[in-house]
């Protein structure tokens, strides 16, 4: 059993009009299948990338992986346990939550604009009761900031005092503060400039080496995936159409959608 195992993961959304409207206008129910029987497995310490365009279902899978959405069918197990299992006790659910964290796409919406950085980073530590002593908590906050390439003095500032790239670093520090084993990265660099993106991607890679982290990396950019992933899964409209290592995927793509994506991606080739 792999560390992260998705089996026939499915998620539908009911977009139908309210019952009365449907009854009067006699329109059928509209169900959107955002994720359709997707299965994949991630080995501990590796990066699995999910690539797709908008509407492919990648963000929905990311949300299910961290427990923000429940699957309508199928399962996503982390170390054999299911976040959505109703039989799990409260403490067990909390303990499992601590092990899976997320880095979000938008550097602007992912940090509470009214909180100081030190409070943002301290919150998970307090919520998971990792450190009780307030002074030790502050030390840990400083340690986290330095790990992501920021200064201890930054802990007293507000998010708007930082650039987009720095904010993503703070987001990464926040994810690290719960001492997780898995981090789901939902398009973490899509909103960043190229040179900043390089810094953040390198940071993610070095953190993975240092802490043996497992990444589920969501993106639409095949080039980014190429530097980050051990294995790539290509999603098209909710279905997993191809799954390969980068070497094979880029040289011998089998699925027509994958081939189309590879062709369409703008390249610096002369």
């Amino acid at each position: 059993m792999s560390f992260v195992q998705a089996t026939d993961l499915t998620r539908t959304f009911d977009l139908s009009d309210p019952f009365i409207v449907r009854a009067i206008s006699r329109t059928p129910k509209r169900i959107l299948t955002a994720v359709d029987k997707v299965s994949f497995s991630i080995e501990k310490g590796t990066t699995y990338a999910l690539v797709g365009e908008s509407g492919s279902g990648k963000s929905t899978i990311a949300k299910m992986a961290v427990g923000l959405l429940k699957p309508t069918d199928g399962s996503l197990l982390v170390d054999g346990m299911n976040l959505n299992d109703p039989k799990l006790a409260k403490e067990e659910t909390l303990a499992l939550r601590r092990r899976i964290q997320m880095v979000f796409q938008s550097p602007y919406a992912s940090l509470n604009p009214r909180w100081k950085v030190k409070d943002i980073l301290c919150e998970p530590i307090k919520a998971f009761k990792l450190i009780e002593n307030p002074k030790a908590q502050i030390d840990r906050v400083h340690e986290l900031l330095e790990q992501v390439g920021l200064a201890s003095s930054d802990s007293n500032k507000f998010p708007h005092e930082f650039s987009g790239g720095q904010r993503q670093r703070i987001s990464i520090a926040r994810a690290l503060s719960s001492e997780p084993e898995i981090i789901v990265c939902d398009e973490p660099t899509s909103a960043l400039d190229v040179s900043v993106q390089a810094q953040v991607l390198n940071l993610l890679k070095s953190l993975q080496k240092e802490y043996a982290l497992t990444y589920l990396f969501i993106t639409h950019d095949l080039a980014v995936v190429s530097t980050m992933a051990n294995k790539i899964g290509v999603l098209n409209q909710g279905k997993l159409v191809e799954e390969q290592t980068p070497e094979v995927l880029f040289s011998e793509p089998k699925n027509s959608y994958t081939k189309m994506l590879l062709n369409a991606a703008p390249k610096i080739n002369f």
Binding site: Q101, P113, E123
Partner: protein, 301 residues
Amino acid sequence: MLRFLKSDFIYDFLRAPVAIISFSVISILVLSAIFAQYIAPTNPFDPASLELMNGFTPPMEPNMFTGEVFLLGTDDQGRDLFSAILYGLRISLFVGLMAVSLAMIMGVLLGLIAGYVGGWLDNFIMRLADIQMTFPSILIAMLIFGVARGLLPPELRYEMAITVLIISIGLSEWVPFARTVRGSTMVEKEKEYIAAAQLIGLKKWQIMIRHILPNVLGPVLVIATITFALAIIAEATLSFLGVGAPRTEPSLGTLIRVGQDFLFSGEWWILLFPALTLLALALAVNLLGDWLRDTLNPRLK
């Protein structure tokens, strides 16, 4: 604090004449009300200090019986109008402030819950709001006032007048707060920092109070200033109609009602000065609120 004084907000404030003037007017009135007992020559609420013979004295003219001079004249019972205005301001400001606070707390909480929890609770609260908005707030205030009066035994009616006034005005003004906060809450709820808070297992109420509340309070301040002006006018109206502050401890509204009776018999000052004070207060608060709303608007980059 120092950071606040150096902030862009203060910078803009010092460059807006409207804001400076309004703020100064409000400050003067508030300070006068707070220190009324030191500024006012007499205590108009003490029936023993009143001399009926002083009544109907025009401003700055010696009374024909006692020879006393009053800055703004006296009312029909011999009260020095200047003192009465200062003490009356106290009541108006106190009622206004307390009523706004009540409306604000109620409205913000209901708005947060409606916006964050959604579903039938949201529907229920919003329909309550809709129903309430179909009635003019004075009517609602009078309704609550009447019910309270009916429920309270006669001895308490007098003392509780101010409390009932506050509750009735407060309960009639919560809707704008709730609607605005609900809208902002629904926007903030979709932002990723809320998802991050959910990921660490925080309960709904913790997320609402710790994360969403600080981010939706911005427009609340503006609505509060405007509601404050409304509350003061509401209090004056209720007192004017005779269901507010009593005759012996008059607020500005009561004074205006009294003054109205005597306007056409020539004692114009009893109406004019309290009315001018009320006008100045309400106008200043409204203008300041308007300016606040424009300044606090997130600027385009």
